[in-house]
């Protein structure tokens, strides 16, 4: 008979090891999945994890890692702060869309003016759009006690409809021959989030993601507010006695995660994507949830997890074109990763023991 014994303290060693074990287990079971789909599992796994980094065309794929990783890290950092305190913003996808709409809208309002201040205004507008969208669940939660999980998620669907509405109406390119979608911001220099070093993939979103990682690290380790976030998550009763103001924490965590998701959307629309269109969003807001957990809700961990997740995106695309692996298989692969992570986390909090069965 096997029994679980709760550890007095979560195991440090296991808390570092579980993400690695989860990745390995995902590779094994992902390989089985690919084999069922009729692909050579070793080749498929190799393509996903090796090709983008060291393959023949890695000079093209390596910059893509930054392009795909930056929005994931930016969003996940925001989400992780809330998750630590038990505040569940799962509507980052919607905040990402609103950030893109606000950011692009601000830029296009100046078209065709050429000025240095346009891009900074777009950055502020993008963050504001995401913040505004996240404030809806935050204020409803504080004022009425409404469940933030459901509200933030419902707002994703509302944001998707907004996106459809503006790409067919308000932001539609007047010179676009009636096709849906906005003007391409890549060809509007003042609003273009161009690569800082040509060919490196390094754009302002990557810089913002790195700043967010450092900011979150300092906040959590050196700041009272960060301490309150950790305290609320780990010992809610103690937090109450310590005088933590839950309303302030909810507004801060949701607002910040919204603003960061909005920034991610804005950097994406003004850079790699360039256009506000109906299918602009690709699910970064949801994948970032996996990134946040895989990174153990720790800023440095999230940086690494974002990198890994970007790798599966790009590797998945390569496997799609080279091996004909379906795109959905990668989605399943990413979902599996979260599963194994949550499952193996058991070892962090509990000790597994063989025990004699006895009658109580």
């Amino acid at each position: 008979m096997i029994v679980l014994e709760k550890r007095p303290q979560p195991s440090k060693a296991w808390s570092y090891a579980t993400p690695l074990v989860a990745v390995l287990a995902t590779m094994v079971f992902g390989g089985v999945l690919f084999a069922i789909l009729g692909k050579n599992p070793v080749e498929a796994i190799g393509t996903i994890f090796w090709e983008p980094l060291f393959g023949e065309f890695s000079f093209y794929y390596r910059p893509q890692l930054l392009v795909k990783g930056a929005p994931l890290v930016l969003i996940a950092i925001g989400l992780s702060l809330g998750f630590r305190a038990g505040i569940w913003n799962i509507g980052a996808e919607g905040q990402y869309i609103m950030g893109a709409i606000f950011g692009a809208g601000a830029g296009l309002a100046f078209y065709p003016l050429d000025a240095w201040y346009i891009f900074p205004i777009m950055v502020i507008a993008g963050a504001f759009g995401g913040w505004l969208w996240a404030m809806i669940p935050a204020i409803l939660k504080v004022r009425f006690g409404t469940n933030e999980i459901l509200v933030s998620l419902m707002l994703v669907y509302v944001a998707e409809q907004m996106l459809a509405s503006v790409s067919l109406g308000l932001l539609k390119n007047p010179e676009g021959f009636g096709f849906p979608g906005s003007r391409n911001l890549q060809s509007y220099e003042s609003a273009h989030n161009a690569e800082l070093i040509a060919g490196s993939g390094m754009h302002w979103g990557v810089v913002a993601a790195l700043i967010a990682v450092i900011f979150a690290y300092v906040l959590l380790n050196r700041h009272m507010l960060g301490f309150h976030i950790r305290l609320t998550g780990e010992a809610p009763r103690a937090a109450k006695f310590a005088g933590v103001n839950p309303a302030r924490l909810i507004l801060f965590c949701l607002g910040l995660s919204g603003a960061l998701a909005g920034l991610a959307g804005m950097f994406e629309v003004s850079g790699p994507s360039g256009v506000v269109s109906i299918d602009f969003n690709v699910g970064y807001g949801f994948t970032a949830i996996i990134v946040a957990f895989l990174g153990r809700l720790h800023p440095v961990g999230i940086l690494l997890a974002g990198f890994l997740m970007a790798l599966t995106y790009i590797g998945g695309e390569i496997a799609q074109s080279q091996l004909g692996l379906p795109a959905a298989a990668i989605q399943v692969f990413q979902g599996m990763l979260l599963f194994f992570l949550l499952a193996f986390d058991l070892l962090t909090n509990y000790r597994i023991r063989a025990a004699r069965s006895e009658v109580a």
Binding site: L4, K6, W88, I90, I136, L140, F144, G145, T146, N147, I149, L150, V151, L153, M154, L155, Y157, V158, Q161, M162, A164, S165, L168, G169, F286, I289, I290, F293, P326, A327, A328, A329, I330, Q331, V332, F333, Q334, G335, M336, L338, F339, L342, A343, F344, D345, L346, N349, Y350, A360
Partner: protein, 306 residues
Amino acid sequence: MDLGEINPVLLVASLMVAATPLLLAAIGELVVEKAGVLNLGVEGMMIVGAISGFAISVETGSPWLGFIAAAVGGAVLSLLFVLLTQVALANQVASGLALTLFGLGFSALMGQSYVGVKPPDMGEIHIPVISDIPVIGPILFQHDPILYVGIALTTAVWATLKYSRVGLILRAVGENHDAAHALGYKVIKIRIMAILFGGACAGLGGAYISLIRVPQWTEGMTAGVGWIALALVVFASWKPWRALLGAYLFGGITVLQLNLQAAGVAIPVEYLAMSPYIITILVLVILSADKSSAPASLGRTFHASH
């Protein structure tokens, strides 16, 4: 714009069809939450049910086998939730999200070869005499069998929770798992049964969308119905009949906005399409003041130390 084209009898009849997937999923989740477990994976279980039901009924030509497969599919996915939350004692919110993310990907993978295929028709029940009554007949007595299964299930869940010993034990586990454990009830075992039931119901709800409501398969076709079902359980204050009422209310809104789109009302299509989600939020706001009826152990992990 011609509002006169909207036929009120057809509107109410299609309202019941639109409400059924919501009702099935919500009733299942209601039982799960009554047992003290919060499974946020309803959307994932629904979409997996939708594709399993669709695939099996296309392959076998029998919608009934399809619905059975959908229930099994939903329950199998919920088994993963069982493993995470009841065996590995993981956080229920995170596990539910994992279930949804995984389910959406998995269903897309399974459904690749079923895009554009037409499923077999289930047909409608025609009871002589009563289904021929004007107005009431088409509204109430000319539907597919699963719609009545949904109503029967609501009745059964209500009666079981309220009058039977099983229902009492289930509620005890949801209200205070430590006390239930001390009384000798198998908390984990009861919760596992409830989660599997919820998974099967969500699967049925999903298959109702892909086999009857739409009927065809497209990726991500549940489009948030699972999440609305979760909101519906809160709306219903964990009472089965209120869940039925709520499902019809939301079904009504969905059907009405579709009819208004078709009638060409001056409101842009996108604003009509977002209305069910906005109304869900509004309803949540109005009802969230009263939390007293929520099961007291909802979302808490149980681990027997003795």
